[in-house]
């Protein structure tokens, strides 16, 4: 056994630190929580305003525009129908609202950070280990601080999802910027491009496929977090999964699980189709 005398804990100081933070900045956290909740509810309200067949039509039209294949689009558009048929439509909309809210926030934070990381080596040195830690940390761990700062409910779910889904978009944006062929950059410089022009006219457009892959990955990560975040009281499809685990109701679990998968497939196909459209030189 590990000797008792060599033991020390960091749990206590961390608790004290977090408690201190919560007490001192309670007002600030409330303010942030209020803003996020408002953002989330606005999205939710917007999503609810669209009738169910509106989504099916939208998925069909977008898919048709991206893939130019009627059969493919028909299959993809028919999938959401099953979510409704299982009686999980409103829950799926709730989950979708959390996903959209956290992905939008992740992009607002992640894209500029990714550009910085791709441009400056020093930023990469600092950010890289942080991202590694974020990605290897079990997703459940994010729930604890999110819950402590923001209580139970939807806001901590958005926060936890945001943190969990942030790394891919940062990483792939930086990677895309660094993969731009040197010959093209050199030509742009030779014709008198400033640093900013080089980024805007050459690097960003050429990095677009990689950036879009990052956005796609971030969305998928957010989706997978939806189930986990139901443990701190976010409602939606995750809650349904959780309930069926507690009741050992396999059938109900499969229905909820399939709904999550359908959501994932539809979002994945649509964002990938968008990425293909934005690929340079086509």
């Amino acid at each position: 056994m590990f000797p008792e005398t060599l033991r020390f804990h960091i749990a206590e100081p961390i608790n004290i630190f977090i408690d201190g933070l919560i007490q001192r900045y309670a007002a600030a956290f409330d303010l942030v929580a209020g803003k996020i909740l408002f953002f989330l509810l606005s999205i939710h309200r917007g999503l609810e305003a669209v009738p169910w067949w509106g989504y099916i039509l939208l998925v069909f039209l977008l898919s048709l525009y991206f893939s130019r294949s009627i059969l493919h689009s028909l299959v993809l558009a028919s999938l959401p129908f099953f979510i409704g048929a299982f009686g999980l439509w409103s829950m799926a909309i709730e989950s979708l609202a959390v996903i959209i809210a956290s992905v939008v926030m992740a992009l607002v934070i992640g894209l500029p950070l990714g550009v910085l990381m791709g441009e400056a080596k020093s930023v990469e040195t600092v950010l890289s280990p942080v991202l590694d830690a974020m990605q290897t940390m079990p997703s459940f761990v994010y729930l604890i601080p999110a819950m402590m700062f923001f209580g139970l409910g939807k806001v901590p779910a958005v926060i936890a999802t945001l943190i969990y889904s942030l790394p891919p978009v940062i990483r792939l944006t930086a990677l895309g910027l660094r993969q731009v062929p040197k010959t093209v950059e050199e030509a742009a410089l030779a014709y008198g491009a400033t640093r900013w022009q080089l980024i805007r006219e050459v690097r960003l457009p050429l990095a677009m496929p990689s950036i879009m892959a990052g956005i796609n990955q971030t969305t998928m990560m957010a989706l997978s977090m939806v189930v986990v975040s139901s443990m701190i009281g976010a409602r939606g499809l995750g809650q349904e999964v959780l309930v069926s685990i507690n009741k050992i109701d396999v059938g109900r679990g499969v229905e909820a699980g399939m709904s999550v998968v359908i959501l994932a497939i539809v979002i994945d196909r649509l964002t990938q189709g968008l990425a293909k459209r934005l690929r340079p030189g086509e």
Binding site: T183, V184, E186, A187, A188, L189, A190, Y191, G192, A193, T194, Q197, E201, V202, P205, L206, M208, P280, G281, E282
Partner: protein
């Protein structure tokens, strides 16, 4: 070249370039002043001496060729002219402007107005159409769209790509892509044209065609062309004067005829021997029989 001597377009004085191969090594201009240190750096694996004390003068309106094998420092030299690579020490003056002393802003302005460059690997933007690629430099310079359009149409016509403006580079063959590269350079109407092995990646027929077209264009443009190549026949065809580089040093400068007739050392002699042989065979052929095409077959 008799009479009043032509104006100097590009003057390179004591240009050195030493690349560190390991991180954390920095080389200053003081290092290259010391002969002992230079010898050390030459032999060391941590540093690469790409250019050694290069001095050159290129006159306005001439086509000046830099020739050498790969790794002889010719690509480094042409990049130092507009500071795509920062020289370790030395001075570059172009049209009276001291390029090596310029600040960032000044350098950008200088690149936009005085110099345009054609690259071996084209360096085209894959996400822009041919027309937008040609207009790229003008756009950076901030020219209004109207005048851009007009100039692009003219440039595409000049390189024989009328009607190709709306295509993407990926749809074009190598030769056509390089035509786009040339159009992008011509459209800038800069007095100096830098060409870094522009035709090396093309197949012989196309290469020949583009060489001829460039010679033809140059007859009217009278730009100062700084042309890098490893192909002697290309140098002989295109050049008014040429310099031969070897391991970072200029070995010989002269007109193509002079270099072929009187190579300065064994390296140059070996370089030109094949060409000389063919040249003489061609001349003998013309002398003995009919058909002046013989010279055209030499390549």
């Amino acid at each position: 070249m008799a009479g009043a001597s032509p104006a100097e377009a590009i003057v390179v004085r004591n240009l050195w370039q030493v690349f560190p191969r390991k991180e954390g090594i920095s080389i200053s201009s003081a290092d290259v002043m010391d002969e002992q240190r230079v010898r050390e750096m030459d032999e060391s694996d941590d540093t690469v001496v790409a250019m050694k004390d290069v001095c050159l003068t290129v006159y306005e309106g001439e086509t000046f060729i830099i020739m050498g094998l790969s790794g002889s420092g010719k690509s480094t030299l042409i990049r130092c002219l507009l500071r795509l690579v920062e020289p370790t020490s030395g001075e570059v003056c172009i049209l009276g402007h001291n390029v090596t002393a310029m600040g960032k802003r000044e350098l950008v302005q200088f690149r936009r107005e005085k110099i345009s460059m054609v690259f071996q690997h084209y360096g085209l933007l894959p996400h822009r159409t041919v027309a937008d690629n040609v207009a790229f430099g003008l756009k950076l310079r901030g020219e209004p769209e109207e005048s851009r359009k007009e100039k692009v149409t003219w440039a595409l016509e000049t390189v024989g790509l009328t009607g190709w403006g709306k295509y993407y580079p990926s749809a074009l063959s190598g030769g056509m892509r390089q035509r786009v590269g040339i159009a992008r350079a011509l459209v800038m109407d800069a007095p100096i044209l830098l060409m870094d092995e522009p035709f090396s990646g093309l197949d012989p027929m196309i290469r020949r065609e583009l060489q001829d077209e460039l010679i033809h264009l140059q007859r009217d443009m009278r730009k100062t062309i700084f042309f890098v190549t490893h192909d002697l026949s290309e140098a002989l065809r295109m050049g008014d004067r040429m310099a031969i580089m070897r391991r970072g040093e200029i070995v010989q400068v002269g007109s193509p005829d002079e270099v072929v007739a009187n190579p300065a050392d064994e390296y140059v002699a070996r370089f030109v021997s094949d060409e000389k042989e063919q040249f003489e065979r061609g001349r003998a052929f013309i002398g003995s029989g009919p058909g002046r095409e013989a010279t055209a077959c030499v390549s």
